[in-house]
Structure formats: structure tokens, C-alpha cells
Symmetry: C2
């Protein structure tokens, strides 16, 4: 359960409430991580029960009440142990566009171009945001900055790849259509 340790890590910097934790994970770690409340709130509750964090309610007038969590010595210990442990398992990538992409030969070229164009626009937007964020990351220490750098590099790589793919697809004269007769062909063992 890595979400738990990521939260304990963030609480080393400062006390936080659930909503803020989400923001930090999504904005500070190269814009590479996502998380949702369905994980955050139940996990905070559980960690409180386990004595890894403590809760303090902060009532504010004219604003929603916050539940500020602080890390305990037991929490620091659990985090330290995790941090030193061997990260096993490799990088996992999942992307609904990419999974379709590999099968685009079974659809039309027009649709393929359409979807690739959408992705290009998407990654251009992301890139602009990441470049803006880079300034912020620069002030956050070596590791946070490096993570930001990675997010940027990956974004640039994917964008270039998308553009290259687009050119190739446009060039190819594929009459590929979703018809049974054209299938059951290559793919080596």
C-alpha cells in the first residue's frame, strides 16, 4: 500500500488535511501521480487508528472545517522502514489511448489520425503546465526537482513520438477497415 507511505512522506514536510494531500501529490511529483479521496480519507482514518498520525480539527469561520493530520514518531518509523526497503516490481504504465493505438490497424486511418491529434493537443497542454511548474519545483530540493524534470522529459518524448506517428500514419495508404476478411494475418510467435 504505497499511498499510505506517500502520505506519511508528505506529512514530514508539514501537517496537512486530506484535500491538501491530494493537491500536493498531483502537483509536486512531476504531475505524474494521481490519487483520489476514496483512498485518502479512509487511509487517514486507518492510520490514525494505527497511531501513525494524529488528527486536529481546525474550525474556521466562513470556511469549511479542516482536519489537520500530523505524523507521530511511530509514523516516522514506519515511513523510514518503507523508504529503506527494496522497491520491488518495475514501472507500470497504463493508458487507454495507447492500448487502442496498438490496434489501430483494425480501424480506419481517419479515426486513428483524429485520436492522435487529440492526444497531441492534450500533451501540449500538459507540457505548458509542466514548464510553468518547473520554476516552483526548482525551489523544492534536488529530488522533487528531478522528479519534475522526469515528468517534463517524458512529456516531451511522448509528444515527439505522437507527432512522428502522425506523420507515418498520414503517409501510409491504409485502407484498413473493421472487416473480418482483413484480419487473421500477421503477428509472429
Amino acid at each position: 500500500m504505497s499511498v499510505k507511505y506517500a502520505m506519511l512522506g508528505l506529512l514530514h514536510y508539514r501537517d496537512m488535511h486530506g484535500y491538501r494531500i491530494k493537491q500536493h501529490m498531483e502537483q509536486h511529483f512531476g504531475n505524474l501521480w494521481s490519487i483520489n479521496y476514496g483512498q485518502i480519507y479512509p487511509n487517514l482514518k486507518k492510520m490514525e487508528e494505527e497511531g501513525l498520525v494524529t488528527k486536529k480539527e481546525v474550525v474556521r469561520s466562513g470556511a469549511p472545517t479542516r482536519k489537520l493530520y500530523s505524523i507521530t514518531p511511530a509514523g516516522r518509523e514506519a515511513f523510514a522502514e518503507w523508504l529503506l526497503s527494496d522497491p520491488h516490481g518495475t514501472m507500470l504504465l497504463r493508458d487507454p489511448f495507447l492500448l487502442r493505438f496498438v490496434f489501430f490497424g483494425f480501424g480506419t486511418r481517419e479515426r486513428a489520425l483524429q485520436l492522435v491529434d487529440e492526444q497531441i493537443r492534450l500533451y501540449e497542454t500538459h507540457l505548458a503546465k509542466r514548464r510553468e511548474n518547473m520554476r516552483r519545483w526548482h525551489r523544492q530540493g534536488v529530488y522533487v526537482r528531478q522528479m519534475g524534470e522526469l515528468g517534463l522529459l517524458l512529456n516531451e518524448t511522448i509528444l515527439e513520438w505522437l507527432k512522428q506517428s502522425r506523420r507515418e500514419i498520414a503517409r501510409s495508404r491504409g485502407e484498413e477497415v473493421l472487416r473480418a476478411e482483413r484480419m487473421n494475418l500477421p503477428l509472429e510467435s
Copy 2:
């Protein structure tokens, strides 16, 4: 449930059994996807019940019996619908090393270097394999080849980033240790 559609996609090329499906996904799609039997076998069973595939047992002497699955017209239809549908949601990346990396400031520099070196070795191995596979992918049509190209590009990008990070970490004179006093510091809102 994207696994289901990925399997239907593969069955367009040829009839396959569960074990082979796993191999194909992991080897043909840029070495970017992973899947395990806990997903494959139950899904094949379910898809058979839904009439998307049919099963044929192939008994072989001196070798385990295979259960060959073929896609049905209903399966092709379901796949076609999915392929044309909008891929919603963005790329998701998860990596146990990367998640620790961002918190390396709370550990020792030595351990950080050690783990980075391990990753460098890992990605160098992957890179060699991907370069070998590239020849095979070249014969598999535009999209499979492009996916292989992406896997390669991402691998190269990460490897370069790891090496750059290593240099920076080695250069930095961090006396960061897991002690409470050194924490609760930066990280902007």
C-alpha cells in the same frame, strides 16, 4: 475492463491460449504492458459465457493440453465498438522506485545512490532487450512497430534521466538522515 478488449484484439490475429496471450501482450506492445493469469483465465471463461469467444481443447502427446480460443462475430463487434470509443482518462504511471525517489531527501545519500545504480542496471538490461525486439516489431505493421519505438524512447529517456540524477546526487553534499529535527521544512503550498 481493458484487459478484455486487449485480448479480443489479439484474437483478431490468430487463435490463442491463455499462456500465449500473456506472452504476446508483454512482448509485442513495446514491452510496456504486463498482465497476469489471475486476469486472463477468469476473463476468458467469462467471455466464453458471453459468446465473445469459443474454446477448443487441443490435446498433444508429451505436452500440456492447450485451450485455444477463437473470436466470434459478437466478439469482433464488441471489440470494434471499444476501439472506436473515446479513450477517457490519461496515462497512469506507477513505480515503487520513483515513489521512494521523491522522498530520498529523508534518507542517506549513499542509499539513494545505491538504488539509483540498481535502476540504471535494470533499464540498461531492458534497453538491450528492446533493441533486440525492435527487429521483430519492424515486421508487424505500423502500429505495433510504433509502440515498440515508444517503449524504446521512454526507456532511453528514463535511463538518461537516471544517469543525470546520479551525477547530481553524487555532487550534492547532503547530510540528510532520517532524523526528526531535519524535517518539517520546505515544500510550498
